[in-house]
């Protein structure tokens, strides 16, 4: 178990990462705007899809608007930064210095991710609430318990997404660039988590497959809870599944790390 001293150490790592986001706030804002362009395109695409149609794939237009906002929020809490930071360390060889530190690599990276996610998630939430007030028909849940469950599921989503990102980043021990791996990860996550289109739209076999994989815990779970498509009991079950995947990916990450460091080759210097 983590001792108080260790906890303090990781907390300061998280804090440092939060400071870094603040230092590069212009970059963050431009990246956020760039991502909103995608949201804009998708929003109008869906509007066109719903014109003259009441319900598509079991979602009404109002529900779909809410779905898009939840997706955007869940996607923006774990930033591009945390992704490039881990693979960057591996590719430029600074991971060698980390190996010397009395800090667990995985936990330290998770602390960093959590630090920047808190700030980025907070800023995204504020901007999204502003955005939502201009949109008519976004359905907000009425009861407090839904918000609590939603917040917990967002945290669960961060843990699962970190697990996926971490495993993908460790693959950089075997490659010389990170872009290809990052793009593949993004494409797979976007499709199988429900970020592009709700899983209910998929053909039966694809939906069943997606529900068996960890990716669905990133978008599908929080959106089900926020849209109240899952009652309290079902929500708790979904969060349980998130926890299972979070733990499984964490253990897989640990195993892969132990194996990968033995293969490490670092360019001379």
């Amino acid at each position: 178990m983590m001792t108080a001293a260790q906890f303090k150490m990781y907390r300061s790592i998280a804090n440092r990462s939060l400071q870094r986001v603040l230092a590069y706030r212009i970059s963050y804002i431009i990246t956020f705007l760039a991502n909103s362009i995608n949201l804009l395109a998708i929003y109008f695409l869906w509007q066109g899809i719903y014109s003259g149609r009441e319900v598509v794939g079991g979602y009404t237009w109002d529900q779909m608007k809410t779905y898009l906002l939840v997706t955007f929020l869940a996607n923006s809490v774990l930033s591009w930064y945390s992704e490039s930071a881990i693979s960057g360390k591996i590719l430029d060889g600074s991971v060698a210095v980390d190996l010397l530190k009395p800090v667990d690599f995985q936990t330290a990276r998770f602390a960093e991710t959590l630090g920047s996610s808190l700030l980025e998630g907070g800023m995204s939430t504020v901007l999204l609430i502003l955005f939502a007030t201009f949109l008519t028909g976004v359905t907000f849940p009425g009861s407090l318990s839904v918000y609590v469950l939603f917040a917990v599921s967002l945290l669960g989503a961060i843990v699962v997404k970190f697990g996926v990102v971490y495993l993908a980043a460790l693959l950089c021990f075997w490659s010389t660039g990170s872009m290809g791996i990052v793009w593949t990860r993004i494409a797979l996550t976007n499709l199988l988590s429900g970020a592009l289109v709700p899983l209910a739209f998929f053909p039966d076999w694809l939906e069943k497959l997606a529900l068996l994989l960890p990716f669905q815990a990133i978008i599908h779970t929080p959106s089900m809870i926020f849209l109240q498509q899952a009652d309290t009991g079902e929500s708790l079950r979904l969060i349980g599944i998130q926890l299972f995947w979070g733990a499984a990916l964490w253990i897989a990450g640990k195993a892969m790390w132990n194996w990968a460091v033995r293969q490490v080759t670092i360019h001379g210097g």
Binding site: A34, N35, I37, A41, W174, G180, I181, N190
Partner: protein, 265 residues
């Protein structure tokens, strides 16, 4: 400098870059496959939606996939042959552009040949297949003239794409920050042209037809090929958009270059 000389130099510079990337061939395959996969999954997205509904605003599945693939196809050509535009930020920030200024070769040509984005090959292949399939599955009445115009529209699309890349990345002359996300934002705006522009409010339609004429890459060629009523003749503006964006991009680049002061070391 004569055009033939420029082409010769381009070829020589390009082959050198090709040798460099073939050194790291594992990365070569990963990048190519990841670009192809990204595009295939985007195609799956459209397919999943069209599985539920017959059309969006009167646009059929294969018409939208055509527009979608044109955006990727031109991006692929951009990365494969003109990837250097994306390295402009680094060239400026590291002061590497000094070297280019000393050579008796047009700077813009050297910038184009600063790298090869092999991911472009993946985009080019899959994009090509989707464009081809879109044309096969749509009731297009082919004539020689139509084929010639299609090739012309394709060329203008590539020119527009590369020009916008160059103009967007020229921001590096003004924003001297390693994490400059401005070119990425300009690039992301092409997302809007993946779908029929009739979906968007008037302001956005005008924006992606004039300021950043992405619509001439995908939408206007599509209206011509699929014979959309109400849009006939608009494709004639595509060469104008291509010449205009090329001139504007070159102007912005030259102006930025005149502001270039290198790094202090």
């Amino acid at each position: 400098m004569k055009m033939s000389q420029m082409l010769y130099l381009y070829k020589r510079l390009y082959v050198q870059q090709l040798k460099a990337i073939l050194e790291y061939n594992k990365d070569f395959y990963i990048l190519m496959c990841s670009a192809a996969l990204t595009q295939i999954l985007g195609f799956v997205f459209l397919w999943v939606i069209y599985d539920r509904i017959p059309d969006i605003n009167g646009w059929k599945f294969w018409e939208v996939t055509f527009m979608y693939a044109m955006i990727f196809l031109t991006e692929g050509i951009g990365s494969l042959f003109f990837e250097g535009t994306w390295r402009l930020g680094r060239l400026v920030n590291m002061g590497e552009l000094d070297r280019y200024l000393l050579r008796p070769v047009p700077v813009v040509l050297q910038v184009f040949c600063t790298g090869i984005g092999i991911n472009g090959l993946g985009n080019l292949l899959i994009g090509g297949v989707i464009v081809w399939q879109s044309l096969v599955h749509s009731p297009v009445h082919w004539t020689l003239g139509k084929a010639a115009i299609l090739i012309l529209l394709f060329l203008t699309a590539v020119i527009i794409r590369v020009s916008i890349n160059l103009a967007g990345n020229s921001a590096a002359f003004w924003i001297r920050n390693a994490g400059n996300a401005f070119p990425l934002m300009v690039h992301n705006l092409s997302d809007l042209a993946k779908y029929p522009i009739t979906l968007f409010p008037q302001a956005i339609r005008i924006f992606i037809s004039t300021v950043l004429p992405y619509a001439f890459i995908s939408f206007y060629p599509a209206t011509y090929i699929f014979g959309k009523s109400g849009w006939s003749g608009w494709w004639l503006l595509a060469p104008v958009a291509a010449i205009g964006s090329a001139a504007a991009a070159y102007g912005i680049f030259r102006y930025g270059l005149s502001k270039y002061e290198s790094t202090g070391n």
